[in-house]
């Protein structure tokens, strides 16, 4: 019950964000948006992250686009979306599958890139348990990507448990931000 209403809220957020995104598009190219970066203040609810990706672009556009040569810059571009999880779960929700599918599309068009999937947890479990839980989350994301045709040899995983939080407030929205698989390019 509660999940459904949360999901509905997420859709509304997604629509609202999509509208504002569409207007932002007129002013500047979508690749400069930074909403999907984990360190920004903008809320990154699961349903919202997907619209921050340049999903309106055609595959042809993407293929001809030059991606930054510099790794640090590449990681700032927001090409890959994080996947979010429920409390003490590593199962992929619908919004996580949507995000990972978009990632798989991008990754298959940029086959030379290699990347790390970091598993993160909120701070309500113990440090030791969360290291194991973060490992499951990162691997759930990896498995889904490989099932979509991304070469597994490009992927490494690491669990940080609750040791590298994206925010530190004791609120549900912060806990949700910290329950994620985060992507980091390691080679272009």
């Amino acid at each position: 019950m509660k999940r459904n209403s949360t999901r509905a809220m997420a859709v509304i957020f997604a629509l609202a964000a999509a509208l504002s995104f569409a207007s932002a598009c007129k002013k500047k190219p979508p690749t400069t948006t930074s909403e999907s970066k984990p360190t920004t203040e903008a809320p990154t609810r699961p349903g919202e992250t997907q619209v921050t990706q340049p999903t309106t672009r055609t595959p042809d556009n993407v293929q001809t686009e030059e991606i930054p040569a510099d790794l640090a810059k590449l990681n700032q571009m927001g090409y890959l979306q994080d996947a979010f999880y429920d409390y003490n779960k590593a199962d992929l929700r619908d919004d996580a599958r949507t995000a990972l599918s978009a990632n798989a599309d991008w990754l298959k068009k940029h086959p030379s890139t290699q990347f790390l999937i970091e598993g993160h947890c909120d701070d309500r479990g113990t440090t030791e348990y969360n290291l194991a839980l973060g490992d499951r989350r990162a691997n759930a994301a990896r498995e889904y990507l490989t099932s979509l045709g991304v070469d597994g040899s490009r992927i490494r995983t690491v669990s940080y448990g609750k040791e590298r939080p994206f925010c530190t407030e004791e609120t549900e929205s912060c806990w949700q931000q910290n329950r994620r698989a985060h992507f980091l390019f390691t080679a272009r």
Binding site: N88, A90, G125, E128, Y129, A132, N139, R142, E143, E170
Partner: protein, 421 residues
């Protein structure tokens, strides 16, 4: 010997866990007057004061004693062989007198200690200690250990060391530190400029998890921090290492393809074998004092609970049934009890279970409390605690009833304490 515990017990509404709310067992009152060192008045602040302060703090800290306020000699004499003199000490509330007298020759100090039973006016023991003047506190810790051993049959932990991880030196990094049992003399043991977690120590060895090479690996080193070495396993996750009591094996939470299980390897590396083979998550192993069983956390029933199995991985059975999250089990030095982080709703607390009967007591109730570890003598538990979103700090408390809570650390986040055996 010492009076038995007389707890007031209350059943929690959730059932299964007993919360101790009332006063604890009676503690033996000791009079610990200052070290008498008449010939070395000039060294009062260097010898007598630090010695007496350390001795009083140690004995007061032990769960067996309470140090009375009688700092000076009520009878003007330490000779308590007469009923009159002993009576004056008894009237201060003390039942035991710890009489210490010192002498200094060059840079060496010698201390003669006599411990008296004031009621029978008989000496319990007399012993002489000596060492460098700069080690006068260490002499006090040694005497305190001996007094505890004589009066309770169990040596104290006043010369023991606690390992922990901390970000006190800045940034997002955590390094491994050691401190005395009372939080004094913190010292850094690693320089990984990375994330270090899950320390454990046995048989002169220390193991921990380090991200120094980006991925979490088990590292090993000697107790003084020398000989640091990474132990490669080929697994993706290598967390929560626990040394076997003889120091020859390491159990840890390892993972291949997102399935964290309990693994064991040789303490020098190699010999990797998997002990659990569920599809569930297993973590936080801890060896029994005999080395024949391993406690661990498994979520195979849908919530994290404490399980136990033989060291070969057979005979797994569930230990905890109350609450929706029980984790980080630590076996007591005698093997008769286990401490663990317990939670029903809200925050974690420290629970202690009698291993044979399953009878469980909850020892904390404020803030979030987890990661328990036993003192070598089994009388204390060190753990981490925080209020709300504040940083973790390290505390100790009495293992039987949760009394005598003391904060050992401050500044930064100080966590994952492990009491070195």
């Amino acid at each position: 010997m010492l009076a038995g515990a007389a707890f007031t017990r209350g059943q929690t509404p959730e059932g299964g866990v007993i919360v101790i709310t009332g006063p604890t067992g009676r503690k033996m009152p000791l009079a610990v007057p200052p070290l008498l060192a008449p010939g070395v008045a000039a060294l009062q602040s260097k010898v007598s004061e630090p010695f007496t302060a350390a001795l009083r703090a140690d004995l007061d800290y032990s769960s067996a004693f309470v140090v009375t306020d009688a700092k000076n000699d009520p009878s003007g004499t330490r000779d308590v062989s007469t009923a009159d003199a002993a009576g004056r000490w008894l009237s201060t509330g003390a039942e035991i007198l710890v009489d210490t007298r010192g002498d200094v020759a060059g840079d060496r100090v010698s201390v003669e200690a006599r411990v008296w039973d004031l009621k029978s006016r008989k000496p319990i023991f007399a012993r002489r200690y000596s060492g460098g003047v700069s080690f006068v506190e260490r002499i006090a810790h040694t005497l305190a250990n001996d007094i505890l051993k004589e009066l309770t049959g169990q040596a104290g932990s006043f010369l023991s060391t606690i390992l922990f991880v901390s970000d006190r030196d800045g940034g997002r990094n955590k390094e491994l530190y050691a401190m005395d049992f009372d939080g004094r003399n913190p010292r850094r043991l690693t320089n990984h400029h990375s994330l270090i977690l899950n320390p454990d120590a046995r048989a002169g060895k220390i193991v921990f998890t380090s991200y120094a090479k980006r991925y979490p690996q088990v590292w090993t080193m000697n107790a003084d921090g020398s000989g640091q070495r990474e132990l490669s396993t080929g697994l993706e996750l290598n967390a929560s290492p626990a040394l076997s009591p003889d120091g020859t094996q390491i159990a840890f939470s390892g993972s291949a393809k997102g399935n964290p299980d309990i693994y064991v390897m040789n303490a020098s590396g190699g010999g990797l074998r998997r002990l659990t083979s569920t599809r569930a998550l297993e973590a936080s192993p801890d060896w029994s004092p005999t080395g024949r069983q391993i406690l661990y956390t498994s979520d195979q029933t849908g919530s994290p609970q404490i399980w136990v199995m033989d060291a070969e991985g057979t005979g797994a059975r569930r230990m905890t049934f109350a609450g929706n999250w029980n984790d980080e089990a630590s076996w007591s030095p005698k093997g008769d009890r286990i401490a663990f982080a317990c939670r029903n709703e809200g925050d974690f607390n420290i629970c202690v279970m009698d291993f044979a009967t399953g009878h469980t007591v909850q020892l904390t109730s404020e803030g979030s409390n987890d990661h328990p570890s036993w003192s070598p003598d089994g009388t204390k538990i060190v753990y981490q605690s925080r209020r709300g979103g504040t940083a973790y700090q390290i505390y100790t408390m009495d293992a039987t009833d949760g009394k005598n809570k003391r904060q050992l650390t401050e500044g930064g986040s100080n966590m994952q304490p492990v009491w070195m055996p």
